[in-house]
């Protein structure tokens, strides 16, 4: 059990054991360890990604002697089961019973939003490398919620829409999981695509956990379109790609995907069905950038598999926090100074091999790759960059103030320009 091993390694031992009804925890001063509450879905439909969040995070601390700013670092892991109620409960427990210094993690947007609303009330710092709900760094900013090494949902697909237009695609249908993360990614794509003269012919929304995509595939096959943009996560992505191939659409109809769609956590158990799918993201495990290579090798060595977005982002997130902790010389208890240090970090040594910094709204700016899934030398599939869009922020080429005037993306608002 990952977590128990880790607890043993950091020598936590007795204090956790006293558990539920013991004497209230002694206040830990500056010389005690820094306690981080890491939440991830270790059960449920995105359990694979959740596990990698923990792995990526742990790998970083292991490589760095489990310490920062002169203090030991302890990571307490809790399972949020991919469920906002559980996430809230665990967040409460971590903050109120375990007295962690700050919270980290979560995967599904709704779990992140639940925890964000909780920390809004008590000022506990909360760092979210994977929670991509747009508004957390746009219209609903919470000062102590910071997207270290993170991104907004709509940030990533926009370059892909631009690239699609450059390929000559003019008619596209989108299919996506029906929740905020999907709405925002499709919105980002649809707005740029339609503003560039393309037409979004139809948009399909499937419930999370759709086992059978055949009803949608039937409709996609009969629509007159140049390509499909798919936003599916976890098991749904897996199934969609397979069924797309089984129904003969692969090779007939180009498939474009959101970054999670062709993420390692999905494609590592797949075969030729995932080949040649194009997506866009800041991270490509097949990139030949030396920093990326080094990270991928270290991760593969330790865990026997290539890192996914989840492993990468939490590794980078840990790195980010480490720099901030060093900057305040370990004094994370002085929250304002600490949060300020976090905001000022410029991550030059991340596995991306390029410096990353936050924009004024608290979201990182990245160079985004257009990536394609290809087979590597060992016969496994990975994402390789084929083009790069530099310095893409959460606002694309829009003026932030103007952009924030439009409503947030939802099922009903996709930013589509009527021509």
């Amino acid at each position: 059990m990952q977590r128990r091993d880790f607890l043993k390694k950091t020598g936590l031992g007795v204090s956790a054991a006293a558990a539920a009804f013991s004497v209230p925890r002694l206040a830990l001063g500056q010389s005690g360890p820094i306690r981080i509450g890491l939440m991830a879905p270790l059960s449920g439909v995105v359990a694979a990604g959740g596990r990698e969040i923990v792995e990526g995070f742990n790998l970083y601390w292991e490589q760095n002697g489990n310490s920062a700013g002169g203090r030991k670092v302890e990571v307490l892991v809790e399972d949020d089961a991919g469920n906002p109620d559980t996430a809230l409960q665990k967040a409460r427990r971590l903050v109120e019973q375990e007295k962690v210094n700050f919270l980290f993690g979560n995967l599904l947007a709704n779990t992140g939003l639940a925890v964000a609303s909780y920390v809004k009330g008590n000022g506990v710092p909360y760092f979210i490398p994977v929670i991509a709900a747009d508004d957390l760094t746009q219209r609903d900013r919470v000062p102590n919620v910071i997207r270290v090494a993170g991104y907004t949902a709509s940030q990533m697909p926009r370059p892909l829409a631009d690239w699609a237009l450059k390929q000559g695609y003019r008619r596209i249908a989108t299919i996506s999981q029906d929740y905020t993360f999907g709405h925002e990614q499709c919105g980002g794509f649809a707005q740029v695509f339609s503003e560039g003269g393309g037409t979004i012919v139809n948009q399909f929304w499937n419930p999370l956990n759709t086992a059978d995509f055949s009803p949608y595939l039937g409709q996609l096959a009969s629509a007159k379109i140049d390509a499909v943009f798919a936003m599916e996560l976890g098991a749904d992505a897996n199934r969609f790609m397979q069924q797309y191939a089984n129904f003969g659409l692969k090779g007939q109809l180009p498939l474009l995907g959101a970054q999670n769609f062709t993420d390692q956590s999905v494609i590592r158990t797949m075969g030729p069905e995932c080949e040649d799918i194009v997506s866009s993201a800041h991270f490509a495990e097949g990139s030949d950038n030396p920093a990326t290579r080094k990270f991928v090798e270290a991760y593969s060595k330790k865990y026997g598999k290539m890192p996914s977005l989840y492993g990468f982002s939490h590794y980078s997130g840990a790195m980010w926090i480490h720099h901030a902790i060093d900057a305040v010389k370990g004094d994370v208890e002085s929250r304002d100074a600490f949060l300020d240090a976090v905001r000022k970090v410029v991550l030059t040594d991340s596995p991306l091999g390029r410096p990353v910094r936050l924009d004024e709204y608290g979201n990182p700016i990245y160079d985004i790759f257009i990536r394609k899934v290809v087979k590597n030398a060992e016969g496994k599939y990975w994402n390789v960059p084929i083009e790069t869009y530099e310095s893409v922020s959460q606002f694309w080429t829009y003026d932030p103030a103007e952009y924030l005037k439009q409503p947030p993306y939802s099922r009903t608002f996709q930013g589509i320009r009527k021509s």
């Binding site: 449920g44 439909v45 055949s214 009803p215 098991a235 897996n238």
Partner: protein, 286 residues
């Protein structure tokens, strides 16, 4: 939008075939033993994972099928002889016990196989699509459809042309009478439980090839099985077939035409039947 054309019809039918394979096992166990085995979905998932492991290591799909059926049949025996025997005669306790087992099995599967999604590998000749008319249709799904029909015929023959089948049918009608006639009804029950479980395992491996295997698949297939058996009627093979067709087609049509009401399309009829005709369309009185 696209109405019910051949493509969607096939989608509904192939899903129905899988549902039938799984639900037939469920209905046999309920019909004869009067046990609502809420661990049936977990047996499906476990069977699928086992079938996947066997097929991946041996490279043989059929071996995976047979292996998963055998393994899950054994699990069924363990469940029946090891646990359910302590609560014989107490219907509700049995149901709740199987619910507890379902929780345990689901978590155990997560520990053993992890949370990744797996697809059972199928033989070359079943990959790809067949073309007829203007549509492509996956060969594998057609295979599932054929298999569903084959299983139906095999079960029908078993029930109506063999002694065991006669005993099962008699037991569904009146278990005490059969026992009074000197038949070891316990053995019949056990064989039925094994058969029902084996069908769940078969369903898992078959389903695992096109719907994939993942941590919540057990709850989903259980819900479908419940719906099929409630609508079609307990203990009735024909009921399971009709129920599967209805649920499979409703689900597919529902997703295409009323995506908002996806769950209602299944649970609505289920609740209505339970309230007004609890025996289902083809069920027999207890």
């Amino acid at each position: 939008m696209a109405g019910l054309n051949l493509f969607q019809l096939l989608n509904g039918l192939t899903l129905a075939a899988l549902l039938f394979i799984v639900a037939s096992g469920f209905t046999l166990i309920f019909g004869l033993l009067r046990i609502v085995n809420l661990a049936h979905g977990a047996l499906y998932l476990f069977g699928g994972y086992i079938g996947y492991t066997i097929a991946m290591t041996t490279g043989n799909f059929v071996l995976g099928l047979l292996g998963s059926m055998a393994a899950v049949a054994v699990m069924g025996v363990a469940l029946d002889e090891g646990l359910l025997r302590f609560v014989r005669g107490f219907e509700l306790r049995q149901v709740l016990l199987t619910l507890g087992v379902a929780f345990v099995l689901n978590d155990l599967a997560l520990v053993i196989w992890g949370g990744d999604t797996f697809t059972v590998p199928v033989p070359e000749f079943l990959r790809g699509a067949l073309r007829f008319g203007s549509i492509f249709y996956p060969k594998y799904r057609l295979f599932v459809l054929v298999l569903g029909i084959v299983v139906f015929i095999a079960l029908w023959l078993l029930l109506h042309r063999t002694r065991l089948g006669a005993l099962i049918r008699a037991g569904v009608d009146d278990a005490e009478m059969v026992e009074a006639m000197g038949v070891n009804i316990r053995r019949v029950f056990l064989v039925t439980f094994m058969l029902g479980s084996a069908l769940a395992g078969l369903g898992g491996t078959i389903g695992g090839a096109f719907l994939t295997l993942y941590p919540t698949a057990d709850a989903e297939i259980l819900v479908f099985s419940l719906a099929v058996v409630i609508i079609g009627g307990y203990g009735s093979l024909v009921g399971a077939a009709v129920g599967s067709l209805l649920v499979g087609l409703l689900n597919t049509v529902g997703q295409v035409m009323f995506p908002e009401l996806a769950y209602f399309v299944i649970f609505g009829p289920m609740a209505a039947i339970l309230a007004f005709r609890p025996l289902g369309l083809f069920g027999k009185a207890a």
